[in-house]
């Protein structure tokens, strides 16, 4: 009797422990992450309290939290906080969209056309090697203190990253797939739609992740250089009044915006790349 009953539950038990072990590990990782955060922020706060760190230069966690609460409740020195966040998101988002669309279109066009790519690749390399933030000054002179100059800077920041990836993605398209599509009867346009764009898509999406960060940099640096509103101006104002807590508080707001954008992009990516093999649980 015992022999017939005992062996059957064994595999189930083993599965149970495996699942349990994975869960325990996930909890451990979470706990350690929290510990690191507490250690760093707590150390900072403690350092200020015992006098090791000067809060005038380096801020203070409790002061930053107070500042954030104050901004949310009473608004900032340059107007309501929501307005500043929205202006920066608008500039970065518009720059991101324009830059990404232009980058994708140019990348695919040049990737598909050997002559165009031979002619233009040299200029793109040159343009890419210029530190593009410098262009911000020109844009402000040319386009003024409004949103246009910030959007232009964000476009320039985003364009080259997306372009380079789209171009590379098109070039990396599997030669076998291209030959197959051609023999199955695809025209050039059908080839671009059915083979080239799908295979470049994972490259393009990867670049979009990076480049939203660049769009934010473009918008904020633009506001820094000259603006009437926005998170960059908020930071510049805080800097001007030696308010380090204000600088840090603005930084946290920007980080939250960047993380939300990142999360949205990941969702879009998962939706577009459903055909990819699923990653294993261990990852």
């Amino acid at each position: 009797m015992a022999e017939t009953i005992l062996p059957t539950p064994a595999p189930a038990v083993r599965m149970e422990t495996m699942v349990e072990r994975l869960r325990r590990r996930a909890r451990l990782v979470l706990a350690l992450r929290l510990a690191v955060l507490v250690f760093l922020v707590g150390g900072w706060e403690l350092g200020v309290r015992v006098g090791l760190i000067d809060p005038f230069f380096f801020g203070q966690p409790s002061g930053i939290v107070e500042k954030l609460i104050d901004w949310f409740q009473n608004g900032t020195s340059i107007g309501p906080l929501w307005k500043q966040i929205w202006v920066t998101i608008y500039e970065a988002g518009a720059g991101f969209l324009i830059g990404a669309v232009m980058g994708i279109l140019c990348g695919i066009a040049l990737g598909r056309n050997q002559l165009l790519s031979d002619v233009f690749s040299i200029y793109i390399k040159v343009a890419n090697s210029i530190p593009r933030v410098v262009l911000g000054s020109i844009f402000i002179v040319a386009l003024g203190l409004g949103a246009a100059s910030k959007i232009a800077l964000a476009v320039v920041m985003v364009f080259f990253v997306v372009f380079a990836n789209a171009f590379q993605g098109v070039r990396e398209a599997d030669k076998n797939l291209i030959a197959n599509a051609r023999i199955l009867g695809a025209s050039d346009w059908q080839m671009t739609r059915a083979v080239v764009i799908p295979s470049a898509l994972s490259w393009i999406l990867a670049s979009l992740h990076v480049s939203f960060g660049f769009a934010l940099v473009g918008a904020i640096v633009g506001e820094f250089l000259g603006a009437r509103e926005g998170m960059g101006l908020l930071i510049a104002t805080a800097q001007g009044s030696f308010d380090s807590n204000g600088v840090f508080a603005a930084m946290i707001v920007i980080a939250v915006v960047a993380l939300i954008a990142e999360w949205l992009l990941t969702m879009i990516e998962d939706r577009l790349l459903t055909w990819r093999p699923e990653t294993t649980i261990n990852e």
Binding site: N176, L177, A181, I183, L184, G185, S187, A194, S199, T274
Partner: protein
Amino acid sequence: MDAITPTAVALKNVARRFVTPAGEILSALENFDLSIAPGEFFAIVGPTGCGKSTTLGLIAGLAKPQAGEVTLFDAPVDGVDRRVGFVFQQDAVFPWRNVLGNVMAGPLFRGVPKARAEEMARDWINRVGLKGFEDHHPHQLSGGMRKRVALAQTFINNPQVLLMDEPFSSLDVQTRELMQEELLQLWAQAKSAVLFVTHDLDEAILLADRVAVLTTRPARVKSVHTIDLPRPRDVAKLRYDERFIAIARNISDDLREEVLRARAGH
């Protein structure tokens, strides 16, 4: 002579050369002659890297010869021809499309209305035994199943000339045998001319009406052997048939000579 017997594929005195990155000219084919009759199953064997795939590329219109003439049904090849189908060595099904999308790709590219293309595709998915897998993506299928998708994708276009570049070389022995069996059945219905490139002599003899042995690079046709084994053939049994063994012994002497020369670096 040529005017009397029609050919599905003919290569006359063809040469195909490449320029290597070092600037040297590498000759893949020289003085290459070959002709295949409509409806014939023709196999090419030869040492690896001898220019077998190059030959297929020329017939498919993916590349142009530097000398000589390549014809399809006695007309010169000019670009990709609609009557040609190609099954690749590596997976060439579209990983971002499901099975149905892959099989109906050809008709859609060629302007067949969507409803009709889908109907055709479902029929071909049935014929290659993939019913129930229409919504699967290639990464969810086994190697043999992906090959079936590739076959359906090609046969749905009803090719009169079917080029196959070591299509089953990546499959395990059992799956390969099944696929060979299946290919012979599809071919018997489609009645297309087949040019089947392989490095596996047994496979060539089991499937083909004629087998050509190529020389090492630059490739020429060394000899052509007629395989007079009766059809329909049972691939699994035929392997142990005495007639098959006699033919295989005969051709393999021919082939071994070339393989040894290739290894010696000629």
